[in-house]
Symmetry: C2
Subunit: 236 residues, 2 copies
Amino acid sequence: MMLAPLLFYIQDRLVDPWLENKEEPEFDTIDGPGNPVIIAGFGRMGQIVSRLLRVSGIPFTALEVNYQQVDFVRRFGAKVYYGDASRLELLEAARAGEAKLFVLAIDDVEASVRTAEVVRRHFPNLPIIARARNRTHYFHLRDLGIQNIFRETFPTSIEIARLALLRLGMSPAVTERAVGLFKSHDEQQLEAQYAVHHDEKALIQTTQQTAAQLQELFETDEIIQGAQANLPTEKV
Amino acid sequence: MMLAPLLFYIQDRLVDPWLENKEEPEFDTIDGPGNPVIIAGFGRMGQIVSRLLRVSGIPFTALEVNYQQVDFVRRFGAKVYYGDASRLELLEAARAGEAKLFVLAIDDVEASVRTAEVVRRHFPNLPIIARARNRTHYFHLRDLGIQNIFRETFPTSIEIARLALLRLGMSPAVTERAVGLFKSHDEQQLEAQYAVHHDEKALIQTTQQTAAQLQELFETDEIIQGAQANLPTEKV
């Protein structure tokens, strides 16, 4: 089957004709009163969060450094400002001091941490909910005192694994038990790793130890053991 | 606060000393009988899926094109083969013909679609569970007849939005209702978009129409309306 380049590049193709006759503008200025929520990063995740806020009637100000991304979503009616969310001037223009919540949805790790540092330093009372690319990104954000951090592909990985177990013949009850055990173990592992994350040797050791603990946990779990014995040998 | 480069680069730093004295090897050959599950792509998502399979006692064969990634996880005891999962020889060596499930967890969109094409053409009876980067990637995989596709950052976006609504003072019940409405609407929108995705104009029109429908849905929903009236004006 042929690939349809239209699909890979539809966003570029929609954006390009619009951009052709325009210079890249100066960073936007934000006028008027602030909104209760500031969303930094208006990519795949920031947009979903903003849609749920919008339909719930909660006003937000979105900040996005990528000009093409901003212009594209603006054409669909979204209210987004072009600018680097780690710049204090932009945060002040967005009335960060009066906001109730800061959603840190920037995908780039260094830009995310840089923004988190500025927000924490200048608006220490503004609660932050953050996206993290991976564990090291997560550790960085925790070091800045952020408590609500979501690893961006973790829940989807769990959903894929759940469906895989079901498709391989595990019962729904056993699958939910396995998933629940794994998730709570993974959270404990993350905490244990965070406690030693400045010490490389201890980090590796902790990772290996907690992996062994999880294995042991499952091996001594009768429900999972029973499930293994019942795995079908034919194709699902 | 200073950035700790150790954290950003810990994986590189763990891998580099190991790589220094080695040439990049030829693609691995896979010996022995096949495993019931093949995981293509052993990055953040493939690894989580594999950990849940491993503790559940289900053998898998992981294929990963990135040599450094493979060597790194091998040092922690994982069984992974270095190779391009879209190469028929590698799929045959992994006994794809006898496998029960193929987990397509490759992050790169073009490599993912290329692999899906080869698997669908040569192993049409092998069920696939796939990761998609975005909607266009999703449409591509659907075009190849794959039914079980998970958008990689969508569930996390929903989790962030859920916590945001709660932090802004929405009750748990109203929040769950809003999240549930949004998710089912989003799935309908995805289906509607898929139906017209080869027609650029119709795709934009459908997107705008379904967005308006969602807005209307929430605006006529008394429970959500009630929630808006109760939004607190002080900081959360």
